[in-house]
C-alpha cells in the first residue's frame, strides 16, 4: 500500500480507468440477475438482437492488441503494419461468405458441438475441445500482458503481475456471475467506450498538433513539413523505409542475414531476395490474419447467440462496419506518434511504441491544456482497460463453455441436471480464470502483437479449414477433419515455437540458423502460407482414403447447414436424432 501511495498517479487517469472497471462489474451484477437458464449462460438464450450482438462481438474482438498494439506497430514499422488492422477487420468477410450462416443454422452450443454433430463422433468432440482451450489460452496471454502493462502505466511502480491478477479476478467474477448473457451487455458497452476512447483524443489532438495527412505528408517529403516534427532517434526507421511497403517488419529476416553475410556475392544474393521474400511474408501474414479471424473460437461461439442464420449474416456485416471504423484510428496515433513522441523508439515493449496511444494525449499538457491532456489520457486508459477486459471476458466464456458444457456436461457427467451444469459453469470460470492469470504472469517479456499473431496463425491452420471444409464438402470424414486440423494446427504451432525459442528465450543455435536461412525463418514466423494448404490437403487426402466412413446421414446434415430455415429441416433433424436416442 505504501508503495502505491508513493507513486505519482494522475488522478484523472486513475479515476477514469477505475470507473471503467466499476461500470463493468456493476453491469455484470445487473445482468447476472437476468441470466437464469443454462441457455442464458452459454448462448444468451439465442435471443440477442443484431445491433447488440454486433456491438458485443466488436467489443469482444477489439483487444489490447487492437487498441494499443496496432498504433505501436504502425509507429514502429510504418506501412507494412497497416495489414494488421485491415485484415483483422476484413477477415470477417470470409466468415460472412462461407461460415456464419451455415454454422448458425446447424444450431449447436459450441464448436465442439458442431464437430460432434457433423461427424457423429464423441472422440472428435474431445479433440475440438482441446483446441478451443489451447487457442483460447494462447489468445488470453496477450490480454493479460496488456492488463499488466496498462496498470503499470497508470500506477508507476506497481509490479506487472499485480495488474494481471486484479484484472483477471474482476473478469472471472463477472463471467461466473452472468455467463454469456451477462457479458453481452458489458461487451456491447465496451465497444462504444473503446470507439469513443480511440476517436475523441484523435480529433482533439489533430485540431491542436495537425492532421493525419499533414503528419503523414511530413515523412519522406522534400517540402518543409507543415506540422511540428521532432528529430527521429537513431533507432527509428528512416522516412522512406517507414512509409513504403516492404519495410522493416517484412524484411527483418533478410536484414539480419545481411549483417553477417560471409561474402559480397552472398550479400548481393540476399539483397536480390529481399523484396521477393518480403512479398512472401506479406501474403503469409494476410492469410494468417484473414483465415485466423474466421477461425477464432471465442468469436465463432457468438454466432450461436443470433436468433437465426439471416441475423447471423446481418450481424457479421455490422461487425465489419463497427470494427472497420474503429481500425481507421489506431494508425493515426502511430503516424502522430512518429512526429511527436519519437523518444518511444528508444524503449522496447510496454515502455516503447506500444504505449503511444496512452502517451500522445499527455502532449496537450505541454500545449497549455494540462487538464484536457489528463482527461484525454484518462479516456484512452479507460479504453485500454475496456479492450483487454472485454476480450478476456469473451475468451473466458468460450473456454468455460468448453470445459463446463463439453467436458463436464458431455464427457464426464452426461446425466447431470441443468442446475449441476450451471454450477459447473461457474466453477469452470474460476478454474479457467485462475489458469489464465497464472499464464499471464509468465509473459511479461514477449510482445503483445507477437502473441496475438501466434494465436491467429494456429487458428487459421486448424479451425478455419475444419469449418470451411465441413460446411462445404460432403465427402469429409471425421478422420480427415481431425488429421487436417491437428496436422495444420500443430505444424503451425511447431514453426512458431521455433521462432519464439530464438527471439524470446535467446536460443543461440537457432538464431544462427535463421541468419543462415532467412527464407526458413520467414516461413516459420508466418507459417499460414503453407500450414493452411497443408491442413486442407490433409483433410482431402485422408477423407478420400477413408471415404467409407462419411457419416450415413450426411445429406441431411448438409441440408440443415444450407437449406433456408423456413423449410424447418432443423426441427425434423432434431426429432429424428431424438427418436434414435441421441
Amino acid at each position: 500500500m505504501n508503495v502505491l501511495l508513493a507513486m505519482t498517479v494522475d488522478p484523472w487517469i486513475a479515476a477514469l480507468a477505475l470507473a471503467t472497471v466499476a461500470v463493468t462489474v456493476a453491469m455484470g451484477f445487473w445482468s447476472a440477475g437476468k441470466s437464469k437458464s443454462a441457455g442464458d449462460f452459454f448462448v444468451a438464450g439465442r435471443s440477442v438482437s443484431v445491433g447488440w450482438n454486433a456491438s458485443a462481438i466488436s467489443g469482444e474482438y477489439l483487444s489490447a492488441a487492437s487498441f494499443m498494439g496496432v498504433a505501436g506497430m504502425v509507429m514502429l514499422n510504418g506501412y507494412d503494419a497497416l495489414w494488421y488492422p485491415v485484415c483483422y477487420a476484413c477477415g470477417y468477410l470470409f466468415l460472412l461468405l462461407f461460415i456464419a450462416g451455415p454454422l448458425r443454422r446447424f444450431g449447436a452450443y459450441t464448436i465442439p458441438d458442431f464437430a460432434e454433430g457433423r461427424y457423429d463422433s464423441p472422440l472428435f468432440r474431445k479433440i475440438a475441445v482441446c483446441f478451443v482451450l489451447f487457442i483460447g489460452f494462447f489468445y488470453t496471454m496477450p490480454q493479460m500482458k496488456g492488463a499488466g502493462t496498462t496498470l503499470a502505466y497508470i500506477f508507476p511502480g506497481l509490479p506487472y503481475w499485480a495488474g494481471v491478477v486484479v484484472v483477471g479476478a474482476v473478469i472471472t467474477l463477472n463471467v461466473s456471475l452472468g455467463g454469456m448473457k451477462g457479458i453481452t451487455l458489458v461487451q456491447a458497452f465496451q465497444y462504444w467506450l473503446k470507439m469513443f476512447a480511440i476517436a475523441l483524443p484523435v480529433f482533439v489532438l489533430a485540431s491542436v498538433v495537425g492532421h493525419y495527412h499533414e503528419h503523414l505528408g511530413a515523412n519522406a517529403s522534400a517540402a518543409p513539413a507543415a506540422v511540428e516534427r521532432k528529430a527521429l532517434p537513431g533507432k527509428a526507421p528512416g522516412d522512406a523505409q517507414w512509409l513504403a511497403p516492404f519495410g522493416s517488419l517484412t524484411t527483418k529476416a533478410v536484414d539480419n542475414a545481411l549483417k553477417s553475410a560471409p561474402s559480397p556475392e552472398a550479400k548481393a544474393e540476399l539483397e536480390a531476395a529481399r523484396r521477393p521474400y518480403s512479398l512472401l511474408y506479406t501474403y503469409s501474414l494476410i492469410i494468417a490474419l484473414v483465415c485466423g479471424t474466421a477461425g477464432l473460437p471465442h468469436i465463432l461461439v457468438r454466432f450461436y447467440t443470433n436468433p437465426d442464420g439471416v441475423a447471423a449474416k446481418r450481424t457479421t456485416m455490422w461487425v465489419m462496419i463497427l470494427i472497420g471504423v474503429f481500425y481507421v484510428f489506431p494508425p493515426v496515433y502511430g503516424v502522430l506518434g512518429r512526429s511527436l513522441t519519437p523518444e518511444l523508439y528508444d524503449a522496447v515493449g510496454a515502455k516503447g511504441t506500444d504505449k503511444v496511444v496512452l502517451e500522445l494525449p499527455t502532449l496537450l499538457a505541454g500545449k497549455d491544456h494540462p487538464l484536457l491532456g489528463s482527461i484525454l489520457s484518462g479516456i484512452t486508459c479507460a479504453g485500454a482497460f475496456a479492450a483487454f477486459m472485454s476480450t478476456f471476458s469473451g475468451l473466458l466464456v468460450s473456454m468455460t463453455g468448453a470445459l463446463a458444457h463439453d467436458i463436464y456436461g458431455r464427457i464426464l457427467r452426461p446425466q447431470s441436471t441443468p442446475e449441476q451444469r450451471l454450477k459447473a459453469f461457474k466453477w469452470s470460470a474460476v478454474i479457467v480464470g485462475g489458469l489464465a492469470v497464472a499464464l499471464g504472469t509468465q509473459v511479461e517479456k514477449p510482445n503483445i502483437n507477437f502473441l496475438v499473431g501466434q494465436a491467429f496463425a494456429i487458428a487459421a491452420a486448424s479451425y478455419f479449414p475444419l469449418l470451411f471444409m465441413s460446411v462445404w464438402w460432403r465427402g469429409m470424414t471425421m478422420k480427415g477433419a481431425a488429421a487436417g486440423m491437428l496436422g495444420g494446427g500443430l505444424a503451425a504451432l511447431a514453426a512458431i515455437t521455433l521462432t519464439t525459442l530464438s527471439d524470446v528465450y535467446s536460443v543461440k543455435s537457432l538464431a544462427d540458423f535463421w541468419v543462415a536461412h532467412p527464407l526458413l525463418r520467414i516461413l516459420c514466423e508466418q507459417p499460414a502460407i503453407w500450414a493452411v494448404p497443408l491442413s486442407i490437403g490433409l483433410m482431402i487426402v485422408v477423407s478420400k482414403a477413408t471415404s467409407a466412413q462419411v457419416p450415413a446421414d450426411v445429406r441431411m446434415k448438409m441440408l440443415v447447414l444450407h437449406a433456408p430455415e423456413a423449410l424447418g429441416l432443423k426441427q425434423e433433424y432434431i426429432k429424428e436424432h431424438e427418436g434414435l436416442g441421441h
Binding site: V86, C90, L93, K313, G324
Partner: protein, 101 residues
C-alpha cells in the same frame, strides 16, 4: 442411421443446387476481395512509383490500405447479404413449389 425421405426437399438434386448457388455467390464475392488483397502487394512490388504518388499527404498505397479498403469490404458484404437473403427466399419458394408438384 435412417436415410432422409426422398421427396423434392430431401433429394440430392435439391441439395446440390442449393449448395452450388450459395457457393457461387460466396465465391464471386470472395474473388472481388481476394483480387484486391492479392493485387495491392503486387502493385506495391511492380509499380512502387505509382503507389508512392502523393494524394493530399497520403501515398496512394497508404490511402487504399489504411482508409479505402474498409468501405470496399462493406460494399461487398452489403451486396452479399442482399443477394444471399434473396437467394434463400427463392430457394424456400422453389422447395415449396417442388414439393407441391
Amino acid at each position: 442411421m435412417k436415410e432422409p425421405p426422398t421427396d423434392h426437399v430431401h433429394s440430392d438434386a435439391f441439395l446440390a443446387k442449393l449448395m452450388r448457388d450459395q457457393l457461387k455467390l460466396s465465391i464471386a464475392c470472395a474473388l472481388c476481395f481476394a483480387v484486391a488483397l492479392i493485387a495491392l502487394p503486387l502493385l506495391n512490388y511492380w509499380q512502387p512509383e505509382l503507389m508512392a504518388r502523393r494524394i493530399g499527404g497520403f501515398t496512394l498505397t497508404w490511402l487504399i490500405l489504411g482508409v479505402l479498403f474498409f468501405p470496399f469490404v462493406w460494399v461487398i458484404s452489403y451486396v452479399f447479404i442482399r443477394r444471399s437473403i434473396a437467394l434463400e427466399e427463392a430457394e424456400a419458394q422453389a422447395a415449396k413449389d417442388g414439393s407441391r408438384s
